[in-house]
């Protein structure tokens, strides 16, 4: 199967450039995953946004942070 | 070789920090309500006023860092702070110690900040215009003398 090339429009590129300016890596990661989730669920015919997926994104990033800081201790 | 205060940290008392926040804003649109662009600007002015009023109040143990000395202007802020340090100690050897110069400035600023609060925030009118009037009134009283 042909590998799909990801198309990034100029406006999406501008958004990506703005996101790159976020200093906190954890927050940057959460935003990236959230935006991707929103993108997959943005159709007008969708019933409910999958909030549990968003909670999972926050939770997994928080766990990584906690593990890193526990190890550091 | 000029005096070098770049490596020094500047502190204020914890309970005066709120006054600094009320009077400082980088945004131009807030200029009238926040007469000072930076913490440094306000700190140096407060120190000048504290010295002029002869009100020296050493910092308490509850202090908060508000900026680093690297942002002092070498040809303007630094000589003024040196003068304020000399005003306190009357001994030129104080100028050999950047930490000492800043500590003294902190004490003068701790004394002057409350006066600024009273004049700028507790008078009718916007804080910036109160500040400008305070300066112009002082200027004209000198001109009259």
């Amino acid at each position: 199967m042909k590998q799909k090339r990801l198309f990034i429009s100029k406006s999406m590129q501008r958004l990506i450039d703005l996101f790159k300016q976020i200093e906190d890596e954890n927050i940057k990661e959460i935003i990236a995953e959230t935006v991707m989730l929103e993108s997959k669920n943005r159709s007008s015919s969708r019933k409910n946004f999958p909030m549990q997926n968003l909670r999972n994104i926050i939770d997994s990033n928080a766990r990584l942070y906690e593990n890193k800081h526990q190890k550091g201790n | 070789m000029a005096l070098n205060l770049s490596d020094v940290r500047i502190y204020v008392d914890q309970d005066t920090h709120e006054i600094y926040e009320k009077l400082v804003s980088l945004a131009e649109k807030n200029a009238e309500s926040h007469p000072f662009r930076t913490m440094k600007d306000l700190f140096v002015i407060a120190a000048c006023i504290g010295s002029q009023q002869n009100k020296y109040v050493p910092l308490s143990t509850q202090k908060k860092e508000i900026f680093r000395g690297i942002i002092f202007r070498d040809k303007l802020d630094v000589p003024i702070l040196a003068a304020l340090a000399y005003h306190k100690e009357r001994d030129l050897s104080v100028l050999e110690d950047p930490r000492k110069i800043v500590d003294i400035a902190q004490g003068w600023a701790n004394g002057g900040i409350h006066l600024l609060q009273d004049e700028l925030l507790y008078q009718p009118g916007t804080p910036l215009l109160n500040w400008v009037n305070m300066l112009l009134d002082r200027q004209s009283s000198y001109d009259d003398q």
Binding site: K2, K4, R5, S9, S11, M12, R14, L15, F19, I22, I27, I30, I31, T34, V35, E38, S39, R42, S43, S44, S45, R46, F49, L54, I58, D59, N61, A62, E66 | M1, A2, L3, E28, A31, F36, R37, D41, V44, I45, C48, S51, Q52, D74, K75, L76, P79, I80, A82, A83, L84, Y86, H87, L92, L128, W131, V132, L135, L136, R138, Q139
Partner: protein
């Protein structure tokens, strides 16, 4: 994406099966459908939309097509036959297209049963409904794919389809004064601002959940803090929502005000007075800008002039340093460079030459050594010089401060006079004998007052929001400190912080991104406008901060009213095409009756430009009115297919014939 073929079965006035080739080439991107009113042009347009968007499009039909629903499209002849034969009727639309060189086809089909209503009308009742999507692979196999809008969103997102597949009425609507909301909505959707806003809202929702959980979990003093923290957040959220509502209200009022002022401008009795009012208003704005600049200058100069409070201390130090200098404890400045040069040249200032080891050489060397050791004294010397310069700078700033203050006061006085002058003009306008003028002026004044009142409300709410944010920061510090003692609460706090901060970062980015997007759409709209209306060089187009499409003349005055009907419609069209270009999806453009409401004067430029905008252009045109000498000349040689739709009144069927 390119459409390849449309197959319809018993759809609208198309009885039985019909297949229409939509193939085109790069140099002939147009496919033209010609047919009179009611001949089935719009039905083909609907067929394409239904094939692509299925249920989404069905849900829009009542609004778009005056109460119709999809079952109204079942062909009446086929329905009658089904009733006669006691059978079901099938209706379907299949659209073949290519995306990334891969062929696909989507089919929407439904089965319907003929039913007689109480007043003996024959209608259709749906009994079955299917949507399928197939990919045709390299070997010619048809592989079923899940039909969902994720797939379509990548090609032709549903939320912006109105800017690729649209009808002529749309062109008419966007330059009306109250259309700024629609304009903003278009940009909002096409550049994913909607997505950002949803992301922010969802993150805030999750943050609120974690806050609630932390509040429930926390004990003792931490419990109190969590309670207060949660309450502050709720208040802040409410304030932000109220601020947004007020801003929207204010924008709406300002749009109405602009419309009233535009009307007044064009009335013969008022144009002079209204012109004067506009000039005064602009002058007032300019004055305000100058005042704002001077305010910044005052702040800057005051920060330097304020150092004069140290004058006494500086004087004391200067006196001490001067005394030391007089006593020789701080030597006059002797240039080390000069001494080095003399030693190198082996010649003194007085002209005496010397060699190494000579007394003159030794004296100079010792002097150089002494200078290099005197860095301390050099510091004091530099300090003395700097104090002198600082004093000059402080004095200059004091003078500039005074001058700026005087100038600012003059401008404030000027502002007062300008406001009075505007009030006088308003009073004269209100006194004019013509009732409509007086009425309009009164309406304008009411709106200005309302706008000011709302702005005051917004400012107060902003201050309350800032105070809320300060309290929240304080609570965050206390939570962190106390939270460390309760591990479960700490974990919840961390998650809440992550979600909150992510929402805040998006908030920061949102305004910047929205502004960039507005500017980019504005630039493209202007570009397209110039193409569509070649005689428009005197005008420029702007999309202002309130998302109003405005046209300005060379003096920067609003000129929309001076455009012809056709030109202002072209402005809408320019905006629509700008939106489709911003999306960069490069989809086909399908326009139902694009020239129907456009003035003949602009038919030439528009018909020349449309084929340049896309690699596939479907136009549904009324013969004579829209397919005339001018448009035909421009479009004929750009068309891969021209279809004629023939509706037979007797048989109630449309036939399609390629010309």
């Amino acid at each position: 994406m390119r459409f390849e073929r449309l197959e319809i079965l018993n759809f609208a006035s198309y009885y039985g099966e019909h297949a229409i080739s939509l193939n085109c080439t790069d140099d002939k991107p147009a496919i033209i459908f010609l047919g009179g009113t009611g001949y089935g042009k719009t039905s083909l347009f609907d067929a394409i939309n239904w094939a692509l968007y299925g249920e989404d499009y069905e849900n829009e039909l009542p609004k778009r097509r005056r109460g119709r629903n999809i079952l109204d499209y079942v062909n009446e002849v086929a329905l009658q036959e089904a009733e006669r034969d006691g059978k079901y009727v099938e209706m379907s639309c299949t659209l073949y297209f290519k995306h990334d060189d891969i062929p696909y086809y989507i089919t929407q089909s439904l089965a319907a049963k003929p039913v007689r209503t109480s007043d003996n009308t024959l209608t259709a009742t749906q009994t079955d409904r299917i949507t399928t999507l197939y990919e045709i692979d390299g070997a010619g196999n048809h592989r079923k794919k899940p039909y969902n809008t994720i797939f379509l969103d990548e090609i032709l997102p549903s939320n912006v389809k109105d800017y690729f597949l649209f009808d002529g009425d749309r062109i008419y609507n966007l330059t009306k004064p109250d259309s700024s909301e629609e304009v903003r909505e278009a940009i909002y959707r096409v550049v994913d601002l909607e997505l950002l806003q949803n992301a922010q809202a969802h993150l805030e929702q999750v943050a609120a959940e974690y806050r609630r959980m932390a509040k429930n979990e926390a004990k003792g003093r931490l419990g109190d803090i969590e309670e207060k923290y949660d309450a502050e957040h709720k208040q802040l959220t409410q304030l932000k929502a109220d601020i947004q509502t007020s801003r929207t209200e204010k924008q709406s009022i300002e749009s109405q005000l602009n419309a009233i002022e535009a009307k007044l401008q064009n009335l013969p009795d008022t144009s002079k007075l209204q012109g004067r009012r506009d000039e005064l208003t602009k002058e007032l704005q300019r004055t305000q800008n100058e005042i704002n600049q001077l305010t910044s200058v005052l702040r800057e100069k005051a920060s330097i002039a304020g150092l004069s409070f140290a004058a006494h201390a500086a004087q004391m130090l200067v006196e001490e340093l001067d005394t030391k200098r007089k006593r020789g404890e701080i030597p006059k400045a002797v240039s080390q460079t000069l001494l080095k040069d003399l030693l190198k040249m082996k010649k003194c200032i007085c002209g005496t030459t010397f060699e190494e080891g000579d007394p003159a050489y030794i004296t100079l060397t010792n002097r150089l050594q002494a200078e290099q050791n005197k860095s301390n004294q050099q510091t004091l010397l530099d300090l003395r010089i700097d104090l002198g310069k600082a004093s000059v700078e402080i004095e200059q700033s004091s003078i500039q401060l005074k001058e700026s203050e005087i100038k600012r006061n003059e401008l404030l006085d000027l502002q007062k006079e300008l406001r009075k002058a505007i009030e006088q003009v308003d009073a004269e306008l209100e006194k004019l004998p013509k009732e409509d003028v007086a009425q309009l002026t009164r309406e304008a004044r009411k709106r200005r007052e309302a706008s000011n009142s709302i702005e005051g409300k917004i400012q107060r709410m902003l201050e309350r929001a800032e105070a809320c944010e300060r309290r929240i920061k304080e609570f965050e510090k206390q939570r962190e400190k106390l939270g460390k003692q309760q591990a479960k609460v700490a974990a919840l706090q961390l998650r809440e912080t992550f979600a909150s901060q992510a929402a805040q970062e998006i908030d920061k980015i949102y305004d910047i991104f929205a502004e960039q997007s507005r500017q980019s759409v504005e630039a493209l709209t202007l570009q397209e406008f110039k193409h569509f209306v070649r005689s428009s060089s005197a005008y420029t187009v702007a999309l202002n901060n309130n998302y109003e499409l405005v046209v300005l003349d060379s003096n920067g005055n609003r000129a929309l009213q001076r455009l012809s009907m056709g030109q202002s419609q072209c402005l809408s069209l320019a905006f629509i095409t700008a939106i489709s270009r911003v999306s960069e999806k490069n989809p086909p453009l399908a326009i139902d009756m694009p020239f129907g409401r456009l003035d003949q004067s602009v038919h030439k430029d528009v018909s020349a430009r449309l084929p340049e905008l896309t690699n596939q252009l479907l136009l549904f045109l009324i013969p004579e009115i829209e397919w005339n000498d001018v448009t035909r000349d421009n479009l004929k040689h750009k068309a891969s297919h021209i279809y004629w739709l023939d509706f037979d009144e007797t048989s109630r069927k449309t036939e399609i014939r390629e010309l």
